[in-house]
């Protein structure tokens, strides 16, 4: 049952609000307009896919959504916080608390155990050691890797690594899961398994933004937006809100 339904009046809160977001780069003296006045609202519990060809600005959009980058202009409110003008350290805190990243390259620390990898965001959040370890074990149990706690990422298969990355993304219970081509380095079956996990998380109320160029992957999302040349050209299947 969707989370909002039980509250009677179905007005889920906004997790993301982008207003006229633009991002320009200067490359070799030329100004590149990566995003142009993008407006986007994502509500809690949505599963949204961002699609577009390469160079369409979807990576830039993802970086801004993930607070890895700042827009040149426009307003970005993430989970009630206007993050547009925060400094580096404040953005680090926002990334830590409100965003869970799942990358195409998994991006686990190769020399740490998978337990330590899952603990890492909580470590930067200052969660006490025992609590952190307990929660990491719980998360790894949920994805079925509780027997591999002391293994290094290199000892795991790609699918297992991506599951660890998902557990890590959930560590600080973020408002947003941001998945950038999460199946891009996986075979079809394993990719499908990862998508099932994301769908399952979404069913349990997680807001998920998925960046992909693959229509099959995007089809798992309830809502798909398409970017071309830094603009949103289509917004399909969104919950009528």
């Amino acid at each position: 049952m969707p989370e909002g339904a039980s509250e009677g009046v179905a007005t889920p809160k906004e997790v993301i609000r982008l207003e006229k977001i633009s991002r320009q780069y200067v490359v070799g003296g030329n100004v590149v307009q990566a995003l142009e006045e993008v407006d986007l609202v994502i509500k809690e519990g949505e599963f949204l896919a961002i699609m577009g060809p390469s160079g369409s600005g979807k990576s830039t959009l993802m970086h801004i959504l993930g607070c890895l980058d700042r827009p040149t202009s426009g307003r970005y409110v993430l989970d009630g916080v206007d993050v547009g003008r925060l400094n580096d350290n404040q953005l680090a805190v926002i990334r830590n608390q409100k965003v869970g990243f799942v990358f195409q390259q998994f991006n686990l620390l190769p020399r740490e155990t998978i337990l330590a990898n899952v603990e890492l965001p909580m470590m930067y959040a200052g969660v006490p050691r025992r609590e952190r370890s307990e929660r990491a074990r719980q998360l790894l149990k949920e994805i079925g890797l509780e027997n591999r706690l002391a293994h290094r990422p290199t000892e795991l298969s790609g699918g297992q690594r991506q599951r660890v990355a998902i557990a890590r993304a959930l560590a600080n219970a973020p408002a947003l899961i941001l998945a950038d081509e999460p199946t891009g380095n996986l075979d079809t079956n394993t990719g499908a398994e990862i998508l099932r996990i994301l769908e399952d998380l979404n069913r349990r109320g997680r807001t998920i933004v998925l960046v992909t160029h693959d229509p099959n992957v995007a089809s798992h999302a309830g809502r798909v937006i398409r970017l071309v040349d830094g603009r949103i050209v289509a917004d399909e299947g969104g919950v009528a809100a």
Binding site: A92, N107, Y124, A125
Partner: protein
Amino acid sequence: MSIRETAKAALRGLGLYPLRTFLSVLGIVIGVASVIGLVAIGAGVQKSVTNQISQLGSDVLLVSPAMQRGLFGRSVAQTTVDTSMAKDLVEHNPLIRQAVATLQTQGTMTVDNSTLDVTVVGVTPDYADIFSYPVETGRFLRASDQDLGVDVVVLGAEVASTLFPGENPLGRKVQLSAGNYPTRSFIVVGVMSSLGRTFAGNFDGQVYLPASTFFRWTGQRRVSTFILRARSSDVAVDAADQVDFYLTRRVGANKFRVESQQAILQTIGSVVGTLTLSLGAIAGIALVVGGIGVMNVMLVSVKERTREIGIRKALGAKNRNILSQFLLEAIFLSLTGGLLGLFGGWGVAALVSRWGHWPTVLPIQAIFLAIGFSSAVGLFFGIYPAMQAARLDPIASLSYE
């Protein structure tokens, strides 16, 4: 993130390439080891010398005939003077409080069937007094022994323990032979306590006769050494000059060698001072070289771990988390070098001092200095690479291959 966790992450980074880590800190290892080694050796020598000198008292002067290589390579004294000069030395040199003449020869002492090579010293009764050389059992020579020229002997500690193991030597008869002189019997009247090795020789291996007895037995009047005592340690060096001047006037230039313990102490002190100064220079150069090694390896490390930095930043690491991780890594790195150098230098000093028979002394300040300096080098040369790491852009770092 706590210091403990930052430290763990930093240590993990160090263990990544052990050989490279070791090579990069080799400069610090060698620098710290040589400084620690030389400081320890210097301190050991100084301590051993100071011990020897303080055994005798730093107001003591030794005056002995200058030796010159003579016919057939034999050392020949440049002059001979007799014991009466001891009195003159006190009378004509106001800075001298006391003087004793000693006559010396090498000999063999026999008790029953055991024999021992000893240094036979003819002395006046104030000999023991001038060094504050205490008697173990019995008594030292007395004025009456000197006046009557009786055949009594006082044994050094080592002589007594070798010839009379577990026995009381007092009242025992011993035979002394030396050179061409007739073998003569003596009665043991005393045993001195042990003085150990000193600058003036090994007292424990000597036996003492009244100077008059010595002369009657051997016919030798030539003084081996005058032992003088200055009014105080402070005037010892001046007293030595005074005596030198007096002897030059009386018997001619360079006939005697005048050694003041105080002068020896001062020489040692200034040598050690110079040593310390040049050590400072060596340490400085070595630590700068070592520091550059640390900086180099840290810059490489930051470059190699760009992706790790990107991941950490994406997951919420603040710039200062990254800064302190890499800074601690640099400090650990050079501290490791400092500790290796500390133990290495200590080992070298221990070996050298065993060979040179002086105590191994490692001043506690040197340990703190080694640890403090190597950490400081890590901090100083680590700050730039750590800042480079902290400043990395998370997006660019994440896509770094």
